[in-house]
Protein backbone atom coordinates (compact mmCIF):
# COMPACT_ATOMS: atom_id res chain seq x y z
CA UNK A 1 0.00 0.00 0.00
CA UNK A 2 1.43 3.38 -0.94
CA UNK A 3 -0.65 6.14 0.55
CA UNK A 4 1.10 9.18 1.94
CA UNK A 5 -0.84 8.94 5.19
CA UNK A 6 0.53 7.02 8.15
CA UNK A 7 -1.01 3.59 8.74
CA UNK A 8 -4.40 3.86 10.39
CA UNK A 9 -6.90 1.40 11.73
CA UNK A 10 -9.82 3.80 11.48
CA UNK A 11 -12.84 2.01 10.08
CA UNK A 12 -14.79 3.35 7.14
CA UNK A 13 -18.55 2.93 7.07
CA UNK A 14 -20.32 3.31 3.75
CA UNK A 15 -23.50 2.18 2.01
CA UNK A 16 -22.09 -1.37 1.72
CA UNK A 17 -21.06 -1.89 5.35
CA UNK A 18 -24.27 -3.52 6.52
CA UNK A 19 -24.41 -5.88 3.56
CA UNK A 20 -20.75 -6.87 3.93
CA UNK A 21 -21.21 -7.62 7.62
CA UNK A 22 -24.28 -9.72 6.75
CA UNK A 23 -22.31 -11.63 4.08
CA UNK A 24 -19.45 -12.27 6.52
CA UNK A 25 -21.99 -13.44 9.10
CA UNK A 26 -23.33 -15.94 6.56
CA UNK A 27 -26.78 -14.48 5.90
CA UNK A 28 -27.94 -16.43 2.82
CA UNK A 29 -29.19 -13.51 0.74
CA UNK A 30 -26.27 -11.15 1.47
CA UNK A 31 -23.62 -12.36 -0.98
CA UNK A 32 -26.05 -12.70 -3.93
CA UNK A 33 -27.24 -9.15 -3.13
CA UNK A 34 -23.66 -7.90 -3.12
CA UNK A 35 -23.02 -9.53 -6.48
CA UNK A 36 -26.16 -7.97 -7.93
CA UNK A 37 -25.18 -4.56 -6.56
CA UNK A 38 -21.78 -4.60 -8.23
CA UNK A 39 -22.12 -6.80 -11.32
CA UNK A 40 -22.81 -3.88 -13.66
CA UNK A 41 -19.87 -1.81 -12.41
CA UNK A 42 -17.50 -4.75 -12.51
CA UNK A 43 -18.66 -5.79 -15.97
CA UNK A 44 -18.15 -2.24 -17.19
CA UNK A 45 -14.61 -2.25 -15.75
CA UNK A 46 -13.89 -5.69 -17.17
CA UNK A 47 -15.14 -4.79 -20.67
CA UNK A 48 -12.60 -1.99 -20.77
CA UNK A 49 -9.80 -4.05 -19.30
CA UNK A 50 -10.24 -7.11 -21.50
CA UNK A 51 -10.01 -7.32 -25.25
CA UNK A 52 -12.74 -9.90 -25.65
CA UNK A 53 -16.24 -10.20 -24.21
CA UNK A 54 -15.61 -13.73 -22.96
CA UNK A 55 -12.44 -12.64 -21.10
CA UNK A 56 -14.47 -9.82 -19.52
CA UNK A 57 -17.14 -12.27 -18.35
CA UNK A 58 -14.46 -14.60 -16.94
CA UNK A 59 -12.83 -11.69 -15.12
CA UNK A 60 -16.13 -10.67 -13.47
CA UNK A 61 -16.81 -14.25 -12.39
CA UNK A 62 -13.30 -14.82 -11.01
CA UNK A 63 -13.36 -11.49 -9.23
CA UNK A 64 -16.54 -12.37 -7.37
CA UNK A 65 -15.07 -15.76 -6.47
CA UNK A 66 -12.02 -13.97 -5.02
CA UNK A 67 -14.25 -11.48 -3.23
CA UNK A 68 -16.04 -14.38 -1.58
CA UNK A 69 -12.73 -16.03 -0.75
CA UNK A 70 -11.18 -12.96 0.85
CA UNK A 71 -14.18 -11.07 2.19
CA UNK A 72 -13.57 -12.26 5.74
CA UNK A 73 -10.20 -10.43 5.56
CA UNK A 74 -11.86 -7.12 4.66
CA UNK A 75 -11.09 -4.82 7.59
CA UNK A 76 -13.44 -1.90 6.78
CA UNK A 77 -10.40 0.39 6.61
CA UNK A 78 -11.30 1.55 3.12
CA UNK A 79 -14.50 1.85 1.11
CA UNK A 80 -15.68 -1.59 0.03
CA UNK A 81 -15.86 -0.40 -3.58
CA UNK A 82 -12.15 0.49 -3.55
CA UNK A 83 -11.27 -2.92 -2.09
CA UNK A 84 -13.47 -4.61 -4.71
CA UNK A 85 -11.61 -2.87 -7.56
CA UNK A 86 -8.31 -3.87 -5.97
CA UNK A 87 -9.46 -7.49 -6.04
CA UNK A 88 -10.59 -7.05 -9.66
CA UNK A 89 -7.24 -5.55 -10.70
CA UNK A 90 -5.29 -8.31 -8.95
CA UNK A 91 -7.51 -10.93 -10.56
CA UNK A 92 -6.89 -9.36 -13.98
CA UNK A 93 -3.13 -9.29 -13.36
CA UNK A 94 -3.12 -12.95 -12.31
CA UNK A 95 -5.15 -13.91 -15.38
CA UNK A 96 -2.77 -12.01 -17.58
CA UNK A 97 0.30 -13.66 -16.00
CA UNK A 98 -1.25 -17.04 -16.73
CA UNK A 99 -1.59 -16.10 -20.39
CA UNK A 100 1.26 -16.13 -22.83
CA UNK A 101 0.86 -12.61 -24.19
CA UNK A 102 4.00 -10.67 -24.99
CA UNK A 103 4.77 -7.76 -22.64
CA UNK A 104 2.98 -4.59 -23.67
CA UNK A 105 5.00 -1.56 -24.76
CA UNK A 106 5.54 1.63 -22.82
CA UNK A 107 4.13 4.87 -24.19
CA UNK A 108 6.63 7.63 -24.69
CA UNK A 109 5.51 11.25 -24.65
CA UNK A 110 7.87 11.72 -27.58
CA UNK A 111 5.46 9.65 -29.66
CA UNK A 112 2.29 11.24 -28.40
CA UNK A 113 0.56 14.37 -29.60
CA UNK A 114 2.43 14.61 -32.88
CA UNK A 115 0.67 12.69 -35.61
CA UNK A 116 1.94 12.53 -39.13
CA UNK A 117 0.69 15.38 -41.25
CA UNK A 118 -0.69 17.27 -38.29
CA UNK A 119 -1.60 20.87 -38.78
CA UNK A 120 0.67 23.16 -36.80
CA UNK A 121 -1.65 26.15 -36.73
CA UNK A 122 -2.91 25.38 -33.25
CA UNK A 123 -6.56 25.90 -34.26
CA UNK A 124 -8.76 23.98 -31.88
CA UNK A 125 -10.46 21.24 -33.94
CA UNK A 126 -14.23 20.88 -33.96
CA UNK A 127 -14.23 17.72 -31.86
CA UNK A 128 -12.57 19.56 -28.99
CA UNK A 129 -14.64 22.70 -29.42
CA UNK A 130 -18.24 21.74 -30.21
CA UNK A 131 -20.71 21.08 -27.37
CA UNK A 132 -20.28 17.55 -26.05
CA UNK A 133 -23.90 16.68 -26.89
CA UNK A 134 -23.20 17.26 -30.58
CA UNK A 135 -20.42 14.70 -30.56
CA UNK A 136 -21.82 11.90 -28.46
CA UNK A 137 -23.19 9.07 -30.53
CA UNK A 138 -22.93 5.31 -30.56
CA UNK A 139 -20.14 5.21 -33.11
CA UNK A 140 -17.97 7.66 -31.18
CA UNK A 141 -18.52 5.84 -27.91
CA UNK A 142 -17.63 2.54 -29.54
CA UNK A 143 -14.51 4.16 -31.01
CA UNK A 144 -13.57 5.51 -27.61
CA UNK A 145 -14.11 2.16 -25.90
CA UNK A 146 -11.99 0.50 -28.60
CA UNK A 147 -9.30 3.14 -28.14
CA UNK A 148 -9.28 2.57 -24.38
CA UNK A 149 -8.98 -1.18 -24.88
CA UNK A 150 -6.08 -0.67 -27.28
CA UNK A 151 -3.93 1.10 -24.67
CA UNK A 152 -1.18 -0.92 -23.03
CA UNK A 153 -2.58 -2.37 -19.81
CA UNK A 154 -0.50 -0.28 -17.38
CA UNK A 155 -1.97 2.91 -18.87
CA UNK A 156 -5.40 1.52 -19.60
CA UNK A 157 -6.11 0.55 -16.02
CA UNK A 158 -5.16 3.99 -14.74
CA UNK A 159 -7.27 5.80 -17.35
CA UNK A 160 -10.26 3.56 -16.60
CA UNK A 161 -10.00 4.00 -12.84
CA UNK A 162 -9.39 7.77 -12.97
CA UNK A 163 -11.36 9.02 -15.96
CA UNK A 164 -14.12 6.43 -16.40
CA UNK A 165 -14.73 5.19 -12.85
CA UNK A 166 -13.69 8.57 -11.40
CA UNK A 167 -11.55 7.36 -8.52
CA UNK A 168 -9.18 10.00 -7.10
CA UNK A 169 -5.43 9.83 -7.68
CA UNK A 170 -4.87 8.54 -4.13
CA UNK A 171 -7.63 5.94 -4.41
CA UNK A 172 -6.23 4.77 -7.75
CA UNK A 173 -2.74 4.58 -6.23
CA UNK A 174 -4.12 2.46 -3.40
CA UNK A 175 -6.07 0.15 -5.71
CA UNK A 176 -3.02 -0.38 -7.95
CA UNK A 177 -0.38 -0.37 -5.21
CA UNK A 178 1.44 2.45 -6.97
CA UNK A 179 2.66 5.84 -5.79
CA UNK A 180 0.39 8.80 -6.63
CA UNK A 181 3.26 10.20 -8.74
CA UNK A 182 3.35 7.02 -10.76
CA UNK A 183 -0.42 7.14 -11.26
CA UNK A 184 -0.13 10.70 -12.58
CA UNK A 185 2.58 9.79 -15.09
CA UNK A 186 0.67 6.78 -16.40
CA UNK A 187 -2.61 8.71 -16.50
CA UNK A 188 -1.12 11.51 -18.55
CA UNK A 189 0.48 9.14 -21.05
CA UNK A 190 -2.72 7.17 -21.37
CA UNK A 191 -4.78 10.30 -21.86
CA UNK A 192 -2.40 11.65 -24.50
CA UNK A 193 -2.53 8.35 -26.38
CA UNK A 194 -6.34 8.45 -26.28
CA UNK A 195 -6.33 12.05 -27.43
CA UNK A 196 -4.21 11.04 -30.43
CA UNK A 197 -6.62 8.22 -31.27
CA UNK A 198 -9.60 10.59 -31.10
CA UNK A 199 -7.77 13.09 -33.28
CA UNK A 200 -7.22 10.34 -35.85
CA UNK A 201 -10.90 9.40 -35.68
CA UNK A 202 -12.04 12.96 -36.28
CA UNK A 203 -9.45 13.81 -38.95
CA UNK A 204 -10.96 13.29 -42.41
Amino acid sequence: MTTENPPTHKTVADEDTELIRAAIAGQPQAFPDLVRRYEKKLYSFARRMCRSDSDAEDLVQETFLNVHRFLADFRFETKFKNWLYRVAVNTAITKRRRSKFAPEPDLSLEDLGRQEGADATGDVPDWARLPLEQLLNGELLETLNRAIRSLPEKYRVVVVLRDVEEFSTDETAHILNLTPANVKVRLHRGRMALKDKLTEYFTP
Binding site: A23, I24, G26, P28, F31, P32, L34, V35, R36, E39, K40, Y43, R47, R48, E57, V60, Q61, F64, L65, H68, R69, L71, L109, G113, R114, Q115, A118, D119, A120, T121, G122, D123, V124, P125, W127, A128, R129, L132, L135, L136, L140, L141, L144, N145, I148, V159, D163, V164, E166, T169, K184, L187, H188, R191, M192, L194, K195, L198, T199, T203
Partner: protein
Protein backbone atom coordinates in the same frame (compact mmCIF):
# COMPACT_ATOMS: atom_id res chain seq x y z
CA UNK B 1 -6.40 19.29 -37.33
CA UNK B 2 -4.34 19.02 -34.19
CA UNK B 3 -1.59 20.80 -32.37
CA UNK B 4 2.09 20.01 -32.73
CA UNK B 5 4.29 21.42 -30.01
CA UNK B 6 7.88 20.81 -31.03
CA UNK B 7 9.47 23.52 -28.96
CA UNK B 8 11.37 22.15 -25.94
CA UNK B 9 9.48 24.43 -23.57
CA UNK B 10 6.16 23.30 -25.04
CA UNK B 11 7.19 19.68 -24.65
CA UNK B 12 8.07 20.22 -21.00
CA UNK B 13 4.75 21.93 -20.35
CA UNK B 14 2.90 19.29 -22.30
CA UNK B 15 4.02 16.71 -19.73
CA UNK B 16 2.24 18.72 -17.04
CA UNK B 17 -1.05 19.24 -18.87
CA UNK B 18 -2.87 16.60 -16.82
CA UNK B 19 -1.62 18.13 -13.56
CA UNK B 20 -3.05 21.43 -14.76
CA UNK B 21 -6.39 19.94 -15.80
CA UNK B 22 -6.67 18.01 -12.52
CA UNK B 23 -5.91 21.09 -10.40
CA UNK B 24 -2.74 19.46 -9.10
CA UNK B 25 -0.34 22.28 -9.95
CA UNK B 26 1.01 24.78 -7.42
CA UNK B 27 -0.17 28.39 -7.85
CA UNK B 28 3.10 29.95 -9.14
CA UNK B 29 3.59 27.19 -11.67
CA UNK B 30 -0.05 27.40 -12.64
CA UNK B 31 0.30 31.10 -13.32
CA UNK B 32 3.40 30.56 -15.45
CA UNK B 33 1.55 27.80 -17.30
CA UNK B 34 -1.42 30.06 -18.02
CA UNK B 35 0.81 32.81 -19.34
CA UNK B 36 2.35 30.32 -21.74
CA UNK B 37 -1.06 28.99 -22.76
CA UNK B 38 -2.24 32.50 -23.60
CA UNK B 39 0.72 32.92 -25.93
CA UNK B 40 0.94 29.44 -27.46
CA UNK B 41 -1.93 28.29 -29.69
CA UNK B 42 -0.37 24.82 -29.98
CA UNK B 43 -0.35 24.14 -26.23
CA UNK B 44 -3.74 25.78 -25.84
CA UNK B 45 -5.17 23.49 -28.52
CA UNK B 46 -3.53 20.49 -26.90
CA UNK B 47 -5.15 21.44 -23.60
CA UNK B 48 -8.60 21.70 -25.22
CA UNK B 49 -8.19 18.31 -26.85
CA UNK B 50 -7.06 16.74 -23.59
CA UNK B 51 -10.00 18.23 -21.69
CA UNK B 52 -12.40 16.93 -24.29
CA UNK B 53 -10.80 13.47 -24.20
CA UNK B 54 -11.36 13.31 -20.45
CA UNK B 55 -14.94 14.56 -20.78
CA UNK B 56 -15.67 11.87 -23.36
CA UNK B 57 -14.19 9.19 -21.09
CA UNK B 58 -16.58 10.29 -18.36
CA UNK B 59 -19.50 9.86 -20.76
CA UNK B 60 -18.63 6.43 -22.09
CA UNK B 61 -21.45 4.00 -21.67
CA UNK B 62 -20.92 0.31 -21.27
CA UNK B 63 -23.21 -2.33 -22.76
CA UNK B 64 -25.58 -3.90 -20.23
CA UNK B 65 -24.50 -7.03 -18.39
CA UNK B 66 -25.38 -9.98 -20.66
CA UNK B 67 -28.37 -11.87 -19.29
CA UNK B 68 -26.39 -15.13 -19.40
CA UNK B 69 -23.61 -13.66 -17.25
CA UNK B 70 -26.08 -12.23 -14.77
CA UNK B 71 -27.76 -15.62 -14.41
CA UNK B 72 -24.40 -17.38 -14.01
CA UNK B 73 -23.33 -14.90 -11.33
CA UNK B 74 -26.60 -15.35 -9.47
CA UNK B 75 -26.20 -19.15 -9.56
CA UNK B 76 -22.56 -18.86 -8.50
CA UNK B 77 -23.36 -16.55 -5.59
CA UNK B 78 -26.05 -18.93 -4.35
CA UNK B 79 -23.82 -21.98 -4.69
CA UNK B 80 -20.96 -20.61 -2.58
CA UNK B 81 -20.71 -21.48 1.12
CA UNK B 82 -22.74 -19.01 3.19
CA UNK B 83 -19.90 -18.45 5.60
CA UNK B 84 -17.17 -16.46 3.86
Amino acid sequence: MTCTCDDARCRALCERLSDYVDGEMAAPERHEFEVHLSECPGCSCCLQELRRTIALCRHTACPPVPAGLSARLEALARSLPKSV
